[in-house]
Symmetry: D2
Subunit: 388 residues, 4 copies
C-alpha cells in the first residue's frame, strides 16, 4: 500500500514550461506532481501568450512574478534566486522539446520532458550527453508506465512465468480524428503539422507509448522493422493518421504495433499482449486495474489491482483498496513520485538508491525517437524492412 | 472539462478527525480535499493514539502543534486561533460520528462526516437541526456519488429518457470477509462490533452507498421494505455479513438491494440498474467510466466518460479526456470540490449559488440511517415488511 | 467429446403435441430430438388448427395420415399401430400440459413435457404417480440444464470446491414485454392469461428455469420464501410481469431470484451465481460456453467449454472443440440425448444404467410447480414469508 | 425467422469423403448437412482405414454396402446406382482436396470441399474450370461465413453505414500448439507436415477463414501484401505456427492479419474489425451472437442476433429467439442450407434463384489459395511486399 507519510526533506521546487490554459496535458502534470507533496509548483512559463500564461499561473496560486513570458526568462531568472526551481516539466508541442530541454539542463535543472522526446535521435543523444555532463536527471513522461498492473506484468515476465517471449502485439488506436476535426481543433492541428509534430503523427503521439510499454515489460530489442503509414484524411500528408508496424526482435521474437487516430468509434484501445511459450499477459489502458493472465492449458485468470496475491514490489503499489478503480492520475502520480525520489537520490548522490529505482529516463526517450526514425525510414521507402 | 483555474479567495482551512496511519480511508480524504487547492489541511486529531497521530500529522507536513491528542482539543484550540480551521472531516469509526460531529458544529465548524452518519435517526436529526441552528454546512461522504457517469445517468433519468421508473436493482457485494479474517484485521474487526459499527455491518458499510445512489439517481422514496440478514461467520452475530432487501417505493416502483462481504471471489460488484418503461441504465463501480444505456428495442449503448455526446452539466465533468480511465480519486475530488464551493457560497450567504449546487448533505446522511433502522427493524422481526 | 457413433438399436418412434407452425419452441424440440438420431419424428398433433397442423407435418416430411387433428386421435390411433409412437413431447401452452400428459401416459407413452409442468402441485403429483403406475418415463424440458458448463459447475460444487454453499443469486429478466406488445403477439398474449398460463406469468415462464438450475447445481431445499410480484402493464393483472423472491434454504443458505419481462433493453440476463465459503461460480445463459470461477483470495478464473482441464463427466461433453461457440441447440440436444438413453434403459429395465443417468424428471417438474404455488401464496398475501 | 417447413422435392443424396471416427470436423459436416433435411447421408468413404470407415458408417446408420474403402470406389459405384449420391463433402486433410474434388466432379457430383481448397492456385483454377465444364456446383466450407451477424455486418457495409472502408484488422490466434503437442496428436501433426498440409500451416488452417470473412464483408481486393511467418517450435519448419500479414488494398484501404497457434492461453480470438470513415463494426467468433457497431462520436452499440432492429435479409436469419445463444452449428447449418438450395436451383437451372443466393464458392476457395501463395512468396523472401 502507498505510504502517504513518505516525504522528502523538502518538496522539490518545480516549474513548468507549457501546459497552459486549455492545454491537453498540463493539468495532468500539475495534479500528478502535486499529489504526494514531493514537488511544489513554484514558477512557470505556461503559455506562448505571456499575458495569458501569467494570468493562468496566478489563478493556480503562483506568485505572478514567477510566471514568466518565456522559458528563457524562466530559466534565467529562477537561476538567480536562492529559492529558484530545481526541476522543470516540459509540456509543450514536440518541436520545442529539444531546445527547451537543452536550455533547462544548461540552466542546471532536472528535466521531465513530454514524449516524443525530440525530432531526431541525434538531438536525443545530445540531451542524454548533456544531462550526464551536467549531472542532471532527465525523465520522459511515458505516463502509462506508472500503472501498477503493468509492473505486475513486468515482474511476472522477469520471473519467467510466461516462458520465452515469442510475440508482442501492441495497439493504440482511437477514432477521434476520423473526420478532419483539426480544422476546428488547434490541439489536433499541430499534431498533424510536421514542423511542430515532427516526422510522425500517430506513431509519435500514440504508438510511442505502447512501444515503450513493450520495452519496459519485456526488454526486447528490435532487430528489424517494417512500417506502413497512411493519411486517410489526405490533407494530413505527409504525416500519418494510421500506421502498422511489424517487428523482428533480436531474440527471434516478433511483434506488431498499430497506431491510429481514425479507428472510428474507438476510445483508445491501447492494448499490449505479451505471449510466451507458457503463458500470455494482456493489459488494456481503458480498464487498467485488471491484467489478464492466460496460462496455456489452464483457465484464463483475471488479476486485480490491490490484491494480496500480486507480487511484492514497490511499483505494484496501490493508493486505495482493490475493487476500487484507480486511474490515469494515479499512474502519473506514481511516476512523478519516482521522479522525485530519483532526483532526491541523485542530488544526494545516493547511487544505491538510484539503482533500485525504476523510471522512464532519457535513454527510454531516445529509444522512442530511434524507433520513430526507423518507422519513417521504412514507411518512406514503401514499407521496406529496415535494420534497427 | 474541469476548470483548474477556478479557486476560492483562499483555501478553506481544514482539519481531520481520524484517518490516521494505516487507516483505510484517511488518505482518500486528504488526497481528494487537497486536489483542487480548495482545502488546506491545517490541523488534525488523526489517531486514537495521540503520539502516533502527531507523528503522522508531522509527516504529512503539518505543524506538530496543530496535531492534537483528541478532537476535543482540536476543536477547542483551533477555535482560539484567528487562523483556526473552518471545516473538518470526520473519518473515524461509526460510533464516534455523532459525538464528534456535534462537537464540531458546536465549535463552529462546517462538517464533512463519513457514513453511516449516526447509529440512530434521532441522532442524525439532531445533527441536522444543530447544523441549521449554527448555520453550518454538513456534508456526508457518499463518495461514489462524485462519479460523472452517475450524474449523466441522473440527468438522463430526470429528462425522462427512461420513461417511468419501474425497478431498481442494487448490489454491493465483495468477498473479502468470506473467512473470519477479522481475527487479524482491526479494520474488519470494528465493523463487526455493534458497539463501534452500530446496528448493522454490511448494510451500513456497503449497502448504504448504493442506496444513496438510488436516491440520487431516481429520487424514489421507500414506502415499505423487507430485509433479511445473516452472519455466515457466526461470531459476527448479531451483525450481518450478508443482507438482502426488497423495496416497494411510493410510486409503485420496486427494488432490491444486496449487500455482502462474503460474496467469495468478488472484488466489489457494486452495481445499480435503473429500469424504466422505455429504457434502463446500468453502472458498475469497478469500471466507472462507462454507463450502459439500453433502450428497449434498440441495440444496447455504451456511454463513455468525457465524450461530447454526454449531457452538459457541471457534475458530468472530466479531468482528463475520454478513453483515459478516471477513478475513485476523481470521484472524491469532485465531491470535495463541491463541498468547498458549497461552504464558500454558504459563508457568503450566496443562496442562489447554493441552490445550483448538488452534494450529499446531512439529509442524505439521515435518510441512510433511517433506511438502516428500517432494515434492522424488518430483519429482526424475521424479515417482515415494515412501513418506512 | 461427443460420440457420434453411439446409437440405440432403433430410434425411438416419437410424436409431438403442439409446436406447430409459427410456435415459439416447436422447432427447438424437433431439431434437438432429431440431432443424434435417437428419436424419429413419426406422428404429431401439432396445431389447434387441424388442417394447418397436417400441412405443417407434411412439410416436415411426415406421413399426412399420422398428422392428427388432436392429441386424443394421435394417442388413440398410434396405439393401434405396431409401429406406433413410443414417446411424445408436449409443447403446447401450459393449461394443457396436465390433460395431455395424463392422456399420453394412459396411452402408454413416455412423456417429455414443457414447463411449467402443471397448474397445481396436485396435478403434478398425479402425473408422477401415473407415470410410476404405468411404468413410463416422464421428463420435463428444462432446456438450460443441458449446457455442459452447468454440469461442470455442478460437479465442482459436488466436489466441495466452493466450500459450504451460502448464497445463490438467480435472475432471468428480459425486456421484451416492456410495452403491451401482447396486443399484437398471440405468443405473448396467452402467457398473460391465467386461464392458459396458470397462476403466474414470468415466474413460471422464466424464473422456473433458473430455479431448476439452482436445484440441479446445489441440491438445496427451500425452507421459506417471500415473493413480491407486480404487473407494470396493468392489464396483465392478476399475472405478474415482474417478480422478486427471497429464499431461506434448509441448510441456512439464502438466495434471491428475479424474474421479469419488463427489464427494458435486456436480452435475457439469465444468470446464476452460487457462492460458497471458499469460492463462487457464475454462469450466464447468453454466453454459455464460459463459467466464472472465483476462489476468494485468488484471481478470478474463466473456464471454457471443451478444455482438458474440465472435470471428466459424461454431462460435461462437447460436440465441437473449445473456442467454438456451442449454443442453445446443443444444450437441448444433450438433454434429448439423455431422455432417449433413459427411455431406452427404462424399456430394457436396465436400472444400473438409469442410476447413472441424469435428466430433469417429473419430480423436477413437480418441484417447479410447488415453488410457483409457494410464490403465489406469498405474493398474494402481500409478500409474506411462507413455509415451503 | 428460420422456416422449418421449407424443403426440397427430395433431400439431396449426399456422401462424404473423410471425416471418419475421431476426425476433427466430420461431425460438424454431418450434423449441419442433416439439420434441415436438405441432405441425406447415403454413402461415404470416411476413413483411410477401410474397415474402420465401414464400421463407422454403419454406426451412423448407413447401409454398410455404401461405406466404401476409398473415394474412387465411392464415386465409381455410386455412379452406377440409380439412387447414387448427387453431392459429396470432402473433409480430408488438405493434400487430398484437389484429387478428390477432381474425381468427384468427374464422377458427376456437386462438391463441398474443405479449406484450404488446394495447394496451388493452378489446381484451384482447374477445379473451377472443371466444375464449369461439368455443370456442377462447387462450394467451399468457410464455416464462419454462415453466422447471421456477419451478414448483418455485410449488409450494413453495403448500405454505406460505415462510410468508406479504410482499415480491416483480422486475427485468428489460438494457443493450443504452444508446446509441441503434435508429438501425441495426429490431428496436429499432419497440419505441420507440408506434404499433407500444403505450403502453410496457420495461414491456411486459421488465417484463411478470417481472410474470407474480410472478402465477404467488404469485397476489398488486395493490391500488395507483406507476410512474415515463424515456427516457434522449430521442428515445425518450414511451416509456420505464427504469421503476420500487412495488406494494401486496391482502394487505398489497408489491413493486417494475424494467424497463430502459439498465442498461449487463447481459445480462438478470431476477430475481424472493419473500420470506415464514419463507423466501425467488430465481430468475435467466440461470442458470435453480438456485433459491435461504433459510430464515431456516438456511444458504441451492441447488436444482438434475433432482434427486430436488424436488417431484413435472408442470411440474417435466426433459428431461435434473440437472447438465446446460437453457435457454430447453426452457422454451418445455414451454409449447408444454402448449398442445398444452390444445388437444387442449379439442377433446376433456376438462374434467377441462383443469382439471389449467397454462398462461398470455388472462386472464394481459389481466392484463399491465391492469398496463401502470395503470403508464402512474401514470407520466403524475407517478408517482402508482393503484388497480388
Ligand atoms: N504523456 C501523454 O499521455 C501525453 C498526452 C497528451 C500530450 N502529450 C504531449 O505533451 C505535449 C503537449 O501536448 P498538449 O496536447 O498538451 O498540447 P497543447 O497544444 O494542448 O498545449 C501546449 C501548451 O504549451 C504552450 N506552449 C507552446 N509553446 C510554448 C513555449 N515555447 N513556451 C511556453 N509554452 C508553450 C501552449 O501555449 C499550450 O498551453 C506534446 O509533446 C504531447 O505529445 C503527452
Ligand atoms: N466513503 C467510503 O467509501 C468509506 C470507505 C471506508 C471507510 N468509510 C468510513 O470511514 C470511517 C473510518 O473507516 P476506516 O475504515 O478508515 O477506519 P480505520 O479503523 O481504518 O481508521 C480509523 C481511524 O480513526 C482513528 N480514530 C478512531 N477513533 C478516533 C477518535 N476518537 N479520535 C481521533 N481518531 C480516531 C483511528 O486511530 C484510525 O486512524 C468509517 O465510518 C467508515 O464507515 C467510508
Ligand atoms: N423450455 C423453454 O425454454 C421454453 C421456451 C418457450 C416455451 N416453452 C414452453 O413451451 C410451451 C409452448 O410455448 P410456445 O411459446 O411454443 O407457445 P406457442 O403459442 O408459440 O405455440 C403453441 C403451439 O401449440 C399448439 N397447440 C395449442 N394447443 C394445442 C392442443 N390442444 N393440441 C395440439 N396443439 C396445440 C398451437 O397451435 C401452437 O402451434 C409452453 O408451455 C411454454 O412455457 C418453453
Ligand atoms: N472449416 C473448418 O472450420 C475446419 C475445421 C477443422 C478442419 N477443417 C479442414 O477439414 C479437413 C479435415 O481436417 P480434420 O481436422 O477433420 O482432419 P482429421 O485428421 O481430424 O480427419 C481426417 C479424416 O479424413 C480421413 N481421411 C484421410 N484421407 C482420406 C482419404 N484419402 N480418403 C478417405 N478418408 C480419408 C481420415 O481417416 C480422418 O477420418 C482439413 O482440410 C481441414 O483444414 C476445417
Amino acid at each position: 500500500m502507498f505510504n502517504e507519510e513518505s516525504h522528502l526533506a523538502a518538496p522539490i521546487r518545480w516549474g513548468m514550461v507549457g501546459g497552459g490554459r486549455g492545454s491537453e496535458i498540463g493539468y495532468a502534470h500539475r495534479a500528478s506532481a502535486a499529489r504526494d507533496r514531493f514537488f511544489a509548483l513554484t514558477a512557470g512559463a505556461f503559455d506562448l501568450d505571456a499575458a495569458r500564461g501569467r494570468e493562468f499561473g496566478r489563478d493556480l496560486g503562483l506568485d505572478p512574478e514567477r510566471c514568466y513570458a518565456d522559458y528563457q526568462s524562466l530559466f534565467a531568472q529562477e537561476a538567480q534566486r536562492d529559492d529558484g526551481i530545481q526541476a522543470v516539466s516540459i509540456a509543450t508541442p514536440n518541436s520545442t522539446h529539444y531546445a527547451i530541454s537543452k536550455a533547462a539542463l544548461e540552466a542546471g535543472l532536472h528535466v521531465i520532458c513530454e514524449k516524443p522526446l525530440t525530432f531526431t535521435c541525434a538531438e536525443a543523444q545530445e540531451l542524454a550527453d548533456l544531462a550526464k555532463a551536467r549531472h542532471k536527471l532527465f525523465a520522459v513522461m511515458y505516463g502509462y508506465s506508472g500503472f501498477p498492473m503493468l509492473h505486475q506484468a513486468r515482474a511476472m515476465i522477469e520471473q519467467g512465468l510466461l516462458g520465452d517471449i515469442r510475440i508482442v502485439t501492441m495497439q493504440f488506436a482511437h477514432g477521434f480524428h476520423s473526420a478532419p476535426i483539426e480544422e476546428h481543433s488547434p490541439g489536433a492541428k499541430w499534431r498533424m503539422n510536421p514542423a511542430i509534430s515532427g516526422p510522425t503523427y500517430v506513431l509519435g503521439d500514440l504508438g510511442t507509448h505502447t512501444y515503450y510499454l513493450m520495452e519496459m515489460l519485456t526488454g526486447l530489442e528490435v532487430d528489424e522493422l517494417c512500417c506502413m503509414r497512411q493519411s486517410f484524411i489526405q490533407s494530413r500528408a505527409p504525416l500519418e493518421d494510421n500506421a502498422h508496424v511489424m517487428f523482428k526482435f533480436k531474440t527471434g521474437a516478433v511483434g506488431t504495433l498499430w497506431a491510429s487516430s481514425v479507428n472510428a468509434g474507438s476510445m483508445h484501445q491501447q492494448k499490449i499482449r505479451v505471449i510466451g511459450s507458457k503463458a500470455s499477459i494482456e493489459w488494456w489502458d481503458e480498464h487498467p486495474n485488471q491484467l489478464r493472465y492466460e496460462i496455456q492449458g489452464q483457465p484464463a485468470q483475471l488479476l486485480d489491482r490491490g490484491m494480496p496475491y500480486l507480487l511484492k514490489n514497490d511499483a505494484i503499489c496501490s493508493r486505495i483498496g482493490g475493487g476500487h478503480a484507480e486511474g490515469f492520475f494515479e499512474a502519473w502520480a506514481n511516476l512523478y513520485h519516482r521522479f522525485a525520489m530519483a532526483i532526491d537520490a541523485f542530488e544526494r548522490a545516493d547511487q544505491a538508491m538510484l539503482d533500485t529505482l525504476w523510471y522512464p529516463d532519457v535513454q527510454a526517450g531516445m529509444n522512442g525517437v530511434r524507433w520513430l526514425e526507423a518507422c519513417v525510414e521504412s514507411a518512406d521507402q514503401g514499407a521496406k524492412w529496415v535494420k534497427f
